[in-house]
Symmetry: C3
Subunit: 148 residues, 3 copies
């Protein structure tokens, strides 16, 4: 009997060591909203942002969170059709996130700088004038900005 | 006639795809306030922060936003008179931002670490005890922190 | 006499050039709360985050702030017992911060990816399911997130 209590106690202590939800708790009516930047063309960095998006969706449940990923500066490569990734699964993972309603947003200023046309971007990618402004306005609107 | 409607629809759909202002909308009385860090001595990184500052000022209009740039760690190089930049336009662009009232702030802790005197900094640069504290207090005061 | 006034004026202008506390002011009852990420295994980066933690504690006073450091992705190295740091003082500095109640938190997802067991972590390190979720929930709970 004592042993069972010990096991329960240990189990509980493991539970309470995990992240506690802040108020208001995430729900379908009131989902957590996150905006991540991709600013690097390094595959490890891009992969890391995509994994972070997957991880938060797994944790909260896809119906209790909204994720937007803003690609600018060298990070524009992440949403280009012809990106020469060594890791061929990268674009598949990105498209898979799209099917879960993750928004991918490209920076128009970056596209001008690098002379990139909208049709060179993956289908479903939105374009805004300035990626950094999108990050700013989302934050003011209550989205959480994290640089994974 | 149908064609005109189509064109209008397309035009509108382009408009609404751009960043929407969050409430409260930016105005002269209630400008957006941004604080950016420069932490690297890499010219590409420094240039990228300066471009970001220019881009937000272009987007909002210089009278509807306030920009502060905090330079610390290796990023102190950005505001030193004798910085050996390969790109000679970098310091000109920085000084030009100053004429638009962009604040440049240097970290006193960094200056101690690298043994830098205030007179080695560009004229008009402010010094605070700790760059990171400046970033923190601005955020608490309502400024938006973005790492471009 | 004039000279004394000049000196006083200069002294005052130096004082007011430093960071001003935003409201509410930090106090023992209402401490500033900061959460920093460590995401890199680069010693310079890890050292920089530890220094930043020290600097904010010096500035506010350790009783007027709470600091949490979340280690994920390659940054997990910072809290591993057997980390092969070239700089042998790094782990000492980290442990010293722990004695000042700085929380160190490891990402469970990262530990799974790299096949790391909890007993390979330094004593006193907490584990959560997802480091990024910890950063998010702390922010929603009012903690200030800065990437030093």
């Amino acid at each position: 009997m004592k042993k069972i209590w010990m096991i329960l106690l240990v189990a509980v202590s493991f539970l309470i060591s995990d992240t506690e939800f802040a108020d208001p708790k995430p729900s379908i009516e009131n989902p957590r909203q996150f905006v991540f930047p991709i600013t690097s063309d390094d595959e490890y960095e891009i992969s890391h942002v995509l994994s972070s998006a997957s991880n938060v969706m797994k944790f909260y449940g896809p119906e209790k969170c909204e994720v937007a990923i803003v690609c600018y500066s060298k990070g524009i490569k992440a949403v280009m059709k012809e990106a020469n990734f060594f890791d061929k699964t990268l674009q598949k993972r990105l498209k898979s996130l799209m099917t879960y309603d993750v928004e991918f947003i490209a920076c128009g200023n970056t596209m001008k700088t690098y002379n990139i046309d909208k049709k060179e971007l993956l289908d479903g990618v939105d374009v805004v004038t300035a990626g950094i402004v999108e990050l700013i306005e989302r934050q003011i609107g209550g989205w959480i900005y994290i640089r994974p």
